[in-house]
Structure formats: C-alpha cells, structure tokens
C-alpha cells in the first residue's frame, strides 16, 4: 500500500496488543502483495495475464462483492476500469484518447464470470484492478482480527480508510478529522464514529496529467463531475464506505441511505 497506515489498539496487555498489531501487519502486507495490479509476481497479475484462472475463497468473495457494488452504484464502481489504466500513460493526448476508445468496449463486469472457483473472461483485454477497494478490505480484515483477539477498542486507518472499533478509553467516540481538499494540511470538519467505517475520496490528489488534461486517480468510465471535490461516507464496513465514497465523486446524487459529507468546489460542506 502506498499510503501511510496506522492501527491504535487500546487494551490492558501491551504484549497482546503487539501480537495483534503484528498479525494485522502480516495480513495487510500479504493482501498488498497478492492483489498488486502492477507487480508481475502478484496473484492478481497472473489472473489478469490469463496465466492462472483458479480462484481462492478470498478472491472469489471479493469479485462477487465487486459485481454487487457495480449494480448498486449503477456501474460507477467498476473493477474492470483498470482496463483503461495503461492507456493514460501514453505520451500524447491523441494516443491516450485513441487507446481508451479501443479498450472501452472491454470495460464492464459483464466481461468476466465466476464458475466453480474459476475466473473466466470473455476477451483477452479486460483487466481487473482491485485497487479501488483492497485497502478498505484490509481494514475490514484487520477489524476481524481485532474482534477475534477480543480487542474492544481500536482505531484502524489505512491511508484515510478508517474503522473505529468501540469507544475510546475515555468513553467518547473516535473523532475523525476530514482534510480540507484545497489545503490538506488542515481539517475542514470532523466526524465522531464508533463501530463504524469512514472513508474519503477526493479528486485532488494522485492526478495524472497529459498535455494539460488532468486525469484523476479515480478511474471510471464516466467523467468526474466537477461539483464535488471530496466525498466522505460512513458505513458498517470499510469496503462499502470506500465504494460509495468513490461513487459519489462521479454521481453525488446516488441513492443510498449511508451517511455522507460532500464538499464542493466552493469548499462548502454539504
């Protein structure tokens, strides 16, 4: 993971906390290596390059949930958008646009199926990129480990994807500062959560520029709308929060009962 990650564990026994933290670290590093879109040694690379099509239980679960999220977000959250990633690295705008046009027909979850623990693509071009929610999935797995280890109070933050387990030792909910998208050194607001996940998506960072046109790291077949520049969602799982915070960046009017904080270009908190 290229973002800073932290886990705060509140418990009586320090050595137990250290052990639990190590388990979480091991799990996170394992996930990172397994689903690295760019690493030729990763499990995901092998699936994308069609070198293997065997799905383990974890990957099968992830891909099934991704299909469900695709439907829930009306196609906004699409793990096959990674098919277009490489095209954006072409040097000229003309080449980028041409390549994107060529590959667009192969984007969409309908281009892969899961059949008896096997991943089946209907073409050689569709690529799966789990970067959109593997970090959030790692947070949820970390929480599973914490609960299994009977930890009652903890705060997991993997690059801004957060789960607050229980309450702080002083009995208060965890306070999460939401960064100002135009001045990330300061907060714009804060939210209090307990036994909930919180994620924020924004278009202000990890941009890619080609001949003056800016492409956000949020890869979607649909254009980013220009009105919302930061979306924070609170949900019961980090994966769900992460999926919808990304989706709100495309369609702020997406229908869902999840709690959210949206920030527009004028830095108004909606």
């Amino acid at each position: 993971m290229t973002s800073p990650c932290e886990v705060h564990i509140y418990a009586q026994n320090k050595s137990h906390c250290d052990e639990v933290a190590k388990k979480i670290l091991l799990m996170a590093k394992g996930l990172e290596q397994k689903y690295n879109f760019y690493d030729p040694n990763s499990y995901l690379w092998a699936l994308n390059q069609r070198k293997s099509n065997a799905l383990d239980a974890q990957t099968k679960d992830l891909l099934s949930r991704a299909k469900l999220f695709y439907t829930q977000t009306k196609g906004i959250f699409d793990i096959t958008a990674g098919t277009l990633t490489q095209s954006r690295k072409l040097p000229t705008l003309d080449e980028v646009e041409k390549e994107m046009k060529r590959l667009e027909p192969f984007v969409g979850v309908e281009h892969f199926k899961i059949k008896k623990n096997k991943l089946i693509f209907d073409n050689p071009h569709t690529l799966i990129d789990l970067g959109g929610f593997v970090k959030e999935y790692a947070v949820d797995l970390a929480v599973k480990i914490l609960k299994k280890e009977k930890i009652l109070s903890a705060l997991v933050n993997f690059g801004g994807d957060i789960y607050a387990l229980g309450l702080k030792p002083n009995g208060e909910k965890f306070s999460i500062g939401i960064k100002n998208p135009k001045n990330p050194q300061a907060y714009i607001t804060s939210l209090k959560i307990s036994n909930e996940a919180l994620t924020t998506s924004a278009s202000y960072e990890r941009k890619h520029q080609v001949e003056g046109k800016v492409y956000s790291h949020i890869i979607s077949t649909q254009e980013l709308q220009n009105k919302i520049i930061s979306a924070t969602v609170i949900a019961s799982t980090t994966v769900e929060a992460g999926v919808f915070s990304t989706a709100f960046m495309i369609d702020p009017k997406l229908e869902t009962s999840l709690k959210r904080v949206l920030i527009n270009e004028k830095l108004e908190v909606l």
Binding site: N157, F174, I176, P184, I188, S190, T200, T232, L267
Partner: protein, 400 residues
C-alpha cells in the same frame, strides 16, 4: 487574566463614610470566592490601614493579594484522533469546537493609597492612587474627589470625582506562535514567567485608558433618612478585548476557524445611582440602592439592592440583603459557534451576554472589646446562565 479591579470611586465612597467617624485602625481580612462547575476560585487576604494626622488629614492604605485558580469557559478545539482525506501531514489538528472550561492560575497584587484633606468648612478633598498587577495585566489608577457642603447645617453635600485608569495588557504574540494559556504543553504563558514587560518578545503589550467622572448629591432628608444621587460617565479607549476569549468563525464552511474575539476600541457608558438610608428605630437601618447603566456596546443594566442591618446589642450587628441584577447583551455578542463570519467585532464571552442574577447576603459584625471587632460575611450568587458562586469574607478590625 483581567480581574474586576477595585473601583476607586467605590473606595472613595467608603472612605468618605469612614472619615465622618475619623479614627485610626488596622484591618485584616480574608475573602474566599468559589464558582460552581470547577470554575474560578479566588483566595484573597488583604490588609488595611487608616491613620489620622491631626484632625484635618487622613491616610488610608490597602493591600490585597489574590490567588486565582480554576477555569473560564472559552471556545476550544477538540483534537481529532486521526484523519481521512488527502495524503500529507496535518499541521492544524482540529476537531470540533466546544465552549468549555479552560483552566488557569494567576496571582494579583493590588494596593491603594488615599489621602483625605479636610478643610475649615469640613469640605473634603481626597486624592488617591491604586496599583494592580497580574501576570498579564497591570493597572494604575489616579483619582480625586471633592465633597462640598452646601449649607452650614451640613445636610446637603455635593461631590465631584474623577479618576483615570491606565491599563497594560499582555496579549499573545505572533512570535510566540500565537500560543494561548493552556494550549498544548504550554505550562507557562510566556517564555519567561517574569516577562510582564514583553521585551523578550513572548507577548505584545496593549494599553487601554479609562476616565471615570462622577457627580453626586447627598441630602439628609430628616433625622432618620438620607438620599444620595450620583450620575456617572465612563469613557474607555484602547485595547478593550479579552485576550483569552475566542470566537468560531465561518463554521458552516471550509474556512471555519477559531480566532481571537474582537471588541470595539472605545466604550462610552453613562448611568445613575440612587441610595437611600433609613433608620427604623434605634436598632435597624435599611439601605436601598438602585443603579442604571447603559453604554454604546448596547449593554444596559439595572441593579436593585436592599440591605438591612440589625443592631442586636451594642456589640453585635447582623446584616442581610438581596441584590437583583439584569443586563442586556452587547451588540456583537453571540454564544453560537455557527453565528460569526467576518464581522469586525465578535465575542462569545458569557459576561457580555444577556442575563439576570440574584445575590443573597448575610453579615455579622461583633465587637470583641472597645478596640477589636470581628466581621463575617457570606454571599450566594446565582446567574441565569447557570453560573453560581459563593463568597465568604471574614476579618478583624483593630482601633488604636
């Protein structure tokens, strides 16, 4: 911390009263003031001296040492436990804003000197000086009051008083990173605890000046009652802001911030005060007071007070009283965190809000012998904002 400083006009009023019964004495007093909710507590021992030089000159000196501890409510930021959003280190870790107690400790030393000269017709001229010093505040006050009897029977007197207070306030300096007392691990408000004069750059000095004018008439109505009417004007200019108070601005936007409060640099106030003393029989006296105050900050206040004193015996006097106070709020005051945007003047200091207050008082004065007397007083104060306070005073007076 700016405390309520002694009003020299009040001291003059007391001293005038005392001079009618010119005598030498020494007083030792102790005051204990406590607010509810772990707010302010003040412990203040004080010493006083009154000495006649002949029949026409009297000198009075007072010294008080206040130790103040506790907390004052002020808008504060709560820290966020972690952050979500862009990468990069957060420099200003802010959460939400709460109006809650911020603890502090301070010590105040104050002293005053009054010299009263009595003339042939028994008119009196009193001049005085008062000095008060805290860690972040110094005040010097000079005053003069002239009382003139308009008739030979001395049933009516006019008094004219003027005082000037020159205050210096230390405010956080930009060079010190804008630290507030109580922020972070800042145990010491300044880099140098003794650095009142600000020369180390830990803080910057602001000044304010106040002129107080008072004109009054005291009329003996009959054998058992008197009436006093005073009119006063108070003109203040300079740094009148409370440097420890803050306001939240632009709460419902990305530009929300916690900033210094800001008050106008001028304040003009007027008022009248009426005092009626009536003796009921040989043992009971009633003191009734009314005071009206108004200023250009839109604060108007009314004070109604009734005190009764009962001389149980020649050695024991009991007192009881009640005071009702009500004030309107300053025009630039608001308690909400989502009210202020870019207003020039803004304050959330509760003391500028609209409130009512009731004070119940009791006192006891006991003459141990011809030279020595002992006094005990208690006041219970309750304000509509929820603030409650008790004040206990005790002391002894030795005549010589």
């Amino acid at each position: 911390m700016q405390l309520n400083k002694y009003s020299l006009i009040a001291i003059l009023a007391l001293s005038n009263h005392a001079l009618l019964y010119a005598e030498n004495y020494v007083t030792v007093d102790f005051l204990q003031y406590n607010e509810n909710d772990n707010r302010v507590a003040v412990s203040a021992p004080s010493f006083g001296l009154s000495y006649d030089i002949g029949t026409d000159l009297n000198i009075k000196a007072d010294f008080v040492n206040d130790t103040i501890t506790g907390a004052t409510p002020v808008w504060q930021l709560t820290m966020a436990d972690t952050s979500s959003g862009a990468s990069g280190q957060v420099v200003n870790n802010t959460g939400d804003y709460v109006y809650k107690n911020q603890s502090f400790t301070d010590t105040r030393n104050a002293g005053s000197l009054l010299v009263t000269r009595r003339f042939k017709n028994r008119d009196e001229l009193t001049v005085g000086a008062n000095f008060s010093s805290e860690s972040d505040y110094e005040s010097k006050t000079f005053s003069a009051d002239y009382m003139h009897y308009t008739d030979a029977s001395h049933n009516r007197s006019i008094n004219l008083g003027i005082s000037g207070a020159f205050d210096e306030i230390l405010v956080k300096s930009v060079a010190n990173g804008g630290k507030y007392r109580g922020d972070d691990d800042d145990k010491s408000y300044y880099k140098d605890d003794d650095d009142y004069d600000g020369e180390s750059g830990a803080s910057q000095k602001e000044t304010s000046n106040t002129i107080n004018l008072q004109l009054g008439v005291n009329q003996i109505l009959n054998e058992t009652s008197s009436l006093k009417l005073d009119a006063f004007a108070v003109l203040s200019a300079g740094y009148l802001t409370n440097p420890h108070q803050r306001v939240v601005r632009n709460y419902n936007s990305a530009f929300q911030k916690l900033g210094d409060e800001s008050r106008p640099d001028k304040r003009t106030a007027y008022g009248v005060a009426l005092k009626h003393i009536m003796l009921l029989g040989d043992s009971v006296s009633l003191n009734s007071n009314y005071r009206y105050y108004t200023d250009d900050w839109q604060i108007q206040s009314n004070t109604l007070e009734e005190n009764a004193y009962y001389e149980v015996s020649k050695d024991l006097t009991l007192g009881a009283g009640v005071r009702y106070y009500t004030q309107t709020s300053a025009s630039f005051y608001n308690a909400s965190k989502d009210h202020f945007t870019d207003e020039t003047y803004a304050s959330s200091d509760e003391r500028l809000s609209q409130f009512d207050a009731l004070t119940y008082k009791g006192s006891l004065d006991y003459k141990i012998n011809d030279n020595l007397s002992y006094n005990l007083g208690a006041e219970f104060y309750e304000q509509s904002t929820g603030l409650k306070a008790t004040m206990i005073t005790t002391g002894a007076k030795y005549h010589f």
